[in-house]
């Protein structure tokens, strides 16, 4: 029954193109030649070219005499299918049965899996209950051992120390796969749930014989459409257990398939460009440009907003509405926008440990729908930039802060400040890298940019990497200095423009008139100056009179008058040539009478002041009473104020011209 349903579903699918096909052929040829034990199953003719996993057959290709005499005494595998990133975590206990010391263990993966493999890490196994020491990963590298089936990809794990005869070592292997869940059916409507298929082997595929093994498949929930039943298969809620199997030879293979419901967000970033820009003024600005697609089953038919709004968990179960990003603590000025503007549906929560950003795309993401957006945030510089041995280095995580996101192509650009030199990168895994320049605000020759590119990235890649560079502190002042000098030159240019004579024809009538007028203005200004100085002297005389009232020091007062007299005479001398120039200049004709009036009034004022002064002083000398002097001066005083008023008015009038 299960079989029938499966094949019915598979009939809908289009046969895959070549790689699998090749794989199948090579494998079957091996089978023909080397089969030791074969379990034949009925072959569905349509399947032959595409889905070999569905056939129950065990594959034991090699006796592998060439290999070292290792054997795996215990293998525990756990497959986590709880998100769209498939994680297979295995604990291997390896034993050396041969005489030679072995220091390398081979791990085998079928090509299909190896193609999707994003991450592989081996760590020494820590017993339960122990305090976790910082785990040191064992070195893993791709190898091509001889006499092995080419359809398998091999990785070699170097053990911390050689394994002598009879010795054993336990280690964990974490393999992470992307695009390993295949949606079947490939197209669903809004109301359908999303079913995906996972394929693997029930037996651990290994070039070594395995003594005891078991497999656990962990599913997101207990709704399972179908799964391959072998002997000793158990199901517990959302877990399927295969095994234990004992004493299986090398290259045992028994395909299993699990077809189950998964409504986890299938968020795949087809391209992510992260730009990390360092400013030594205290900020690390991160800008991330996402091109996102829902990588699950394609949606078909109509999208009804009404249904989606009424029952979003039923009509739209396969869609995802939001993404969560865990930003570093103290991230600030977070923004979320796309090509056409800000997207208002986002929430930011922060505490001292992390900043959580929840973003909703503009529309719910159904299968196959795309979106593109940019998030950006600033980080405090001191959290990420350090100094060692005269070099600075940036220490920041490589990948996206998004939770459970698969990134097909990740490009990280680290923009260093202008003037950085001697740049090097230290990364925990292999990254393609090159250098560019970017011209940003106030740059002259651009900032050096380190570009780091990696394909098939999973959250496990979110590790710290370092960019080392040298940077002179004085270069920091470059940009402010540029701004300052820019303004400086602007003002200098303004001053030059105001003072320079840039008229073309120096002989034209209007130009000459203008120049004459300017001269006249200058002269008038001088006249005004002199007049106001005279007025100041009058004020001084008045002040000396006041002193006289107070102290009765007649001599000082007389001296003051003498001095004032001298200065006033000099001033009137100075005034004469100015007045003659004004009289000679034709363009001053309008203003001349006023100026002359001003000068005349001022002279009158001067005389009156002198008269007043001498009257008062005389009065004092004659010791007449204060009241008497007051009476005598009163009339003069009135005239003085009137005159002063007129002079002031005239000054103002001339000023306004």
């Amino acid at each position: 029954m299960v079989q029938a349903r499966l094949s019915w579903r598979l009939l809908l699918t289009v046969p895959d193109p070549d790689p699998v096909h090749n794989y199948l052929i090579t494998l079957t040829t091996y089978k023909k030649r080397f089969t030791r034990e074969s379990q034949t199953v009925e072959i569905c003719p349509r399947m032959e070219s595409s889905r070999f996993y569905f056939f129950l057959f065990a594959l034991a290709i090699f006796a592998s005499p060439a290999l070292s005499d290792l054997l795996l005494s215990k293998v525990d595998r756990r497959v986590y299918l709880t998100s769209h990133i498939v994680r297979i975590s295995s604990t291997l206990k390896v034993e050396n049965a041969g005489p030679e010391t072995v220091s390398e263990v081979l791990l085998a993966f079928p090509e299909q899996q190896a193609k999707n493999m994003a991450y592989l890490m081996a760590t020494p196994h820590e017993g339960k209950g122990k305090v976790k020491n910082p785990v040191v990963a064992l070195p893993v590298e791709v190898v091509n051992p001889k006499d092995m089936p080419p359809a398998l990809t091999f990785f070699s794990v170097s053990l911390p120390k050689g394994l002598a005869e009879g010795g054993s070592f336990t280690f964990d292997v974490l393999a992470v796969f992307t695009h390993a869940l295949r949606p079947i059916p490939e197209q669903i409507t809004q109301a359908d749930i999303q079913l995906v298929l996972f394929q693997d082997s029930a037996y651990y595929l290994s070039p070594y014989a395995v003594k005891a093994q078991s497999l656990t498949v962990k599913l997101p929930d207990s709704r399972i459409e179908s799964y391959t039943k072998l002997e000793s298969t158990k199901i517990h809620g959302s877990e399927i257990k295969y095994g234990p199997y004992e004493n299986l030879p090398a290259f045992s293979y028994s395909p299993i398939a699990v077809h189950f419901e998964s409504n986890q967000p299938f968020a795949v970033a087809q391209e992510l460009v992260r730009e990390i820009e360092i400013s030594h003024w205290g900020n690390v600005q991160v800008t991330e440009h996402y091109k996102l697609v829902h990588g699950g089953a394609q949606s078909k038919g109509e999208f009804s907003r009404l249904d989606f709004q009424a029952r979003p968990n039923v009509r739209g179960a396969s869609a995802f509405r939001y993404l969560v990003a865990n930003l570093p603590p103290r991230a600030h000025s977070v923004y979320y926008r796309d090509e056409i503007g800000n997207i208002s549906t986002s929430h930011l929560r922060g505490d001292s440990k992390k900043t959580e950003l929840l973003i909703e795309p503009r529309y719910p993401m159904f299968g196959g729908w795309r979106t593109a957006f940019t998030i950006g945030y600033g980080l405090p510089l001191q959290d990420f930039l350090y100094e060692s041995e005269g070099k600075r280095f940036l220490n920041i995580t490589y990948s996206s802060p998004m939770v459970e996101l698969v990134i097909d192509t990740l490009i990280v650009k680290v923009v260093l400040p202008e003037g950085s030199s001697d740049i090097s990168v230290a990364a925990p895994f292999h990254i393609e890298q090159w250098q560019e320049t970017k011209i940003s605000h106030l740059d002259i020759d651009g900032r050096p940019v380190i570009v780091l590119k990696k394909t098939n990235v999973v959250p496990e890649h979110n590790q710290y990497f370092q960019v080392y560079y040298r940077f002179n502190k004085l270069s920091m002042l470059r940009e402010p200095l540029m701004l300052i000098s820019g303004f400086f030159f602007f003002f200098v240019a303004c001053i030059v423009y105001m003072h320079a004579d840039i008229s073309i024809s120096k002989s034209s009538a209007s130009y000459l008139a203008k120049q004459q007028w300017e001269e006249v203005q200058a002269v008038i200004q001088q006249v005004q100056n002199i007049v106001s100085r005279c007025l100041a002297i009058h004020d001084k005389l008045e002040a000396s009179l006041r002193d006289l009232y107070r102290t009765g020091d007649i001599q000082a007062c007389k001296a003051a008058r003498k001095a004032a007299d001298g200065v006033l005479k000099e001033l009137s001398k100075e005034l004469k040539p100015l007045l003659t120039t004004l009289q000679s200049s034709p363009s001053a004709a309008q203003i001349l009478p006023k100026v002359e009036e001003l000068v005349a009034k001022e002279r009158e004022l001067q005389e009156k002041v002198m008269v007043k002064h001498s009257t008062v002083v005389d009065g004092y000398e004659k010791k007449s009473g204060a009241r008497d002097i007051e009476n005598r001066v009163a009339l003069q005083q009135q005239k003085l104020t009137a005159l002063r008023q007129e002079v002031d008015d005239l000054l103002e009038f001339i000023d306004e011209i």
């Binding site: 009804s304 208002s344 979106t371 820019g486």
Partner: protein, 721 residues
């Protein structure tokens, strides 16, 4: 005003040892700087409240073209054939737009990049309009100074900086031609008046270039090319002909015309189109006038001259009429366009060109919008006119004519309030400045009078006459103070009104709608961008989208998809075809849509949110425009007793036409308001008449979260077996 502001500061300034003149200059410059900044920041409400984004409809096209210009360079822009609009016709963009705005923005962008400011072109576009508004205030100052005095110039600068009539089209993000065109318009006028006042060739050359910039920026240049000849004609008639005028007009007209021909969209219209003939006629008239003047100068005999005058004038008029008649008959001179007619005769468009009449900004202006946009300027305007007539000069005659004609046009078409605004501001500024100046002079002289009166015991004859004046008008001082306070009260009211209008009415981007939620919180409806971005991401790149023309520019700019019709309403038939498809039954419409290769249909629907400017409310225009070309569509079919309705009582054709179906598809199942039946349309306040809508050839592809935009996919034809 400056003088009053002067008082408290003057002590401070005296400590800097500045002379009154320098003080005044300093105050003037600082006021101008402040006004310049004020004009800029008062337009930033939308950026602060929403974001730095392009507003409305046309600006999106301008933004898209600017983007193209900066990316591909000027020549590509000039030769750009746009396949993405007016499918399948396309549009020769380079030859059918006014490039001034885009070139300006691209130039600013280049300059900023040259100065090493790595700004995004969008920011430049968003801030172009406020920047030019700031420049306009400077021009207004100089213009005011030219026609009246510096005080009037300052007041004009302040008034225009915050006048809502101008702000409506120049807030940040309103990246439209008018943003730079009002600056260009006022600048051209200023330069021309300056040229007339000085008779200087340099100024009239500058005004020709100003005119060139205006032509490159906006179709409203026709106003300049008709107003200036009219002004010249008035000066000729009133006997104010002078050599200055001759130099100014001839230089400006000839050079301006030649320069304007460089703009491809304008081409040879200056010599071929009826709208530009007035300028040419006045040009020839000027020559005749000059010639007559010369002859008069040569002939001493007045009788002989009278005879000569008669003959010459008759000849000139006959030759002119014959030339015009021949030109019209042979088709060399094109007749006036519909738009021009509709300006002169407000009822013309309503009867003849529904596409012009359908645009909301082309409606006749209501009194309320005058009040809204001008506030106290509406009362100050006549007062200013009085002052202008009191002190007639060439310059004031110009501003009076500009004010009166533009006010008429503002009454005809609501968007032309924009053109009237500078004139209204300038004339009102004259009124304010003259009044305040008179009042302060009165106050100052009186103060002095009182002072001298108290100090002088007997007093001279002058003082006694002043005292006499004081006695004759005992409340003069108080009256002046009261009037001054009144003026300041009105002006401050104006300022608050302007700020309020700017913040409440004119700073909404209209792409993003904001409403108050139940708890007073702000709710944002970002449905337009949701839909456009969905189109951009989830439809094939060559998909053709059919929608009413309003959304064309936005779909191409934000959705990056081909549209059938857009806001450049150059092809009435094409628009009518879309209107016809929207107002037909589905099986008729599908034929039209297939013939246009339509893949998606986009409608705007406000029934859920109560958004009233949606397609159902615009539908009658689709029927009218469609019916104007295709008589199959008859407006009465959609009306019941001359009433337009969507509920049960609606006309059957209405209930089953494509637009109705697309808007209300599955709406009948939806509860929009508590206590109302399902399918209650909140925009129109009725329960819809057809709740069981089945679509045969279309399927719902996307509906935004508030249902404002609904997109339908045209299904491929069914297999025949």
């Amino acid at each position: 005003m400056a003088a009053v502001a002067n008082m408290p500061v003057s002590d401070l300034l005296k400590s800097f040892k500045l002379k009154t003149k320098q003080q005044e200059l300093l105050i003037r410059v600082s006021i101008l700087c402040l006004v310049y900044i004020l004009a800029f920041i008062t337009r930033l409400f939308s950026v602060l409240r929403y974001e730095s984004m392009i507003h409305e409809f046309d600006p999106y096209f301008n933004y898209r073209t600017t983007l193209y210009l900066t990316q591909n360079g000027f020549y590509d822009f000039w030769n750009w054939f746009d396949y993405e609009s007016w499918y399948p016709l396309g549009r020769i963009v380079g030859g059918t737009l006014y490039p001034g705005l885009m070139v300006t923005a691209a130039l600013i962008y280049r300059i900023l990049h040259f100065l090493r400011f790595a700004v995004h072109i969008r920011e430049v576009c968003v801030l172009t309009a406020p920047f030019f508004a700031s420049n306009t205030t400077l021009v207004a100052y100089f213009f005011g100074k030219e026609i009246w005095d510096t005080g009037a110039g300052l007041v004009a600068a302040i008034l225009i900086a915050v006048c809502p009539g101008y702000i409506s089209r120049s807030v940040a993000g309103s990246y439209d031609n008018e943003g730079v065109a009002i600056f260009a318009l006022l600048f051209t006028f200023y330069l021309f008046v300056k040229a007339v006042n000085t008779g200087s060739l340099a100024w009239s050359l500058a005004s020709a270039f100003g005119y060139f910039y205006m032509v490159s920026a906006w179709g409203g240049y026709v106003f300049i090319i008709n107003l200036i000849p009219l002004y010249v004609l008035v000066l000729l008639i009133t006997g104010r002909y002078s050599m200055r005028l001759y130099v100014a007009y001839n230089c400006m007209y000839v050079l301006g015309m030649l320069l304007a021909m460089q703009i491809r969209f304008v081409g040879f219209q200056h010599v071929q189109s009826g709208e530009h003939m007035a300028a040419m006629g006045v040009f020839f008239l000027m020559q005749v006038f000059y010639f007559l003047d010369w002859v008069k100068h040569m002939l001493s005999d007045t009788k002989l001259f009278q005879a000569f005058l008669r003959i010459t004038v008759t000849c000139a008029v006959t030759v002119g009429t014959i030339a015009l008649g021949l030109g019209m008959l042979s088709g060399y001179i094109s007749p006036w366009t519909g738009r021009f007619y509709s300006l002169l005769d407000p009822t013309y468009a309503k009867d003849h060109i529904p596409i012009i009449a359908s645009v909301s900004e082309h409606q006749p202006t209501a009194w309320s919008s005058f009040m809204f946009d001008f506030h106290i300027l509406l009362f100050l305007f006549p007062a200013g006119l009085y002052f202008c007539f009191k002190r007639l000069s060439d310059a004031t005659i110009f501003i009076v004519m500009y004010g009166l004609t533009s006010m008429y046009f503002a009454g005809v078409m609501v968007r032309l309030i924009l053109v009237a605004t500078p004139a209204v501001c300038l004339i009102s500024a004259i009124a304010v400045s003259a009044t305040v100046k008179n009042l302060t002079v009165l106050l100052r002289s009186k103060n002095k009078g009182v002072q001298t009166g108290s100090t002088k015991g007997s007093g001279s004859s002058k003082a006694s006459s002043k005292a006499l004046l004081d006695q004759s008008q005992p409340f003069q001082k108080n009256g002046a103070i009261a009037l001054l306070f009144g003026a300041f009260y009105l002006l401050s009211k104006y300022a608050t009104h302007c700020t309020w209008v700017t913040s409440e009415a004119y700073s909404s981007p209209s792409i993003v709608l904001a409403a108050r939620g139940a708890h007073g919180s702000r709710v944002i409806f970002d449905d337009y961008r949701e839909a456009y971005f969905w189109l951009r991401q989830n439809t094939p790149p060559d998909a053709k989208v059919m929608s009413w023309w309003d959304y064309g520019y936005q779909i191409t700019a934000m959705g990056n998809r081909t549209v059938i019709v857009d806001n450049n309403t150059w092809n009435n038939t094409h628009i009518a075809t879309v209107g016809r498809a929207m107002s037909s039954y589905e099986d008729e419409a599908i034929e039209i849509m297939r013939s246009l290769d339509v893949d998606y249909v986009l409608v705007v629907f406000g029934g859920v949110t109560g958004y009233s400017s949606d397609d159902i409310n615009k539908f009658l225009w689709m029927v009218r425009i469609g019916g104007g070309v295709f008589p199959v569509i008859k407006e009465p079919d959609y009306l019941v007793n001359g009433e337009y309705r969507v509920d049960k009582g609606a006309a059957p054709k209405m209930l089953n036409c494509l637009m109705y179906k697309l808007c209300y598809y599955r709406f009948g199942e939806m509860l929009t308001e508590y206590g109302k039946p399902p399918g209650y349309d909140r925009a129109r306040g009725v329960e819809i008449g057809n709740k069981d809508i089945k679509l045969e050839h279309l399927e719902e592809a996307f509906t935004t979260s508030n249902w404002i935009v609904r997109i339908y996919k045209v299904k491929p034809p069914n297999n025949r077996w």
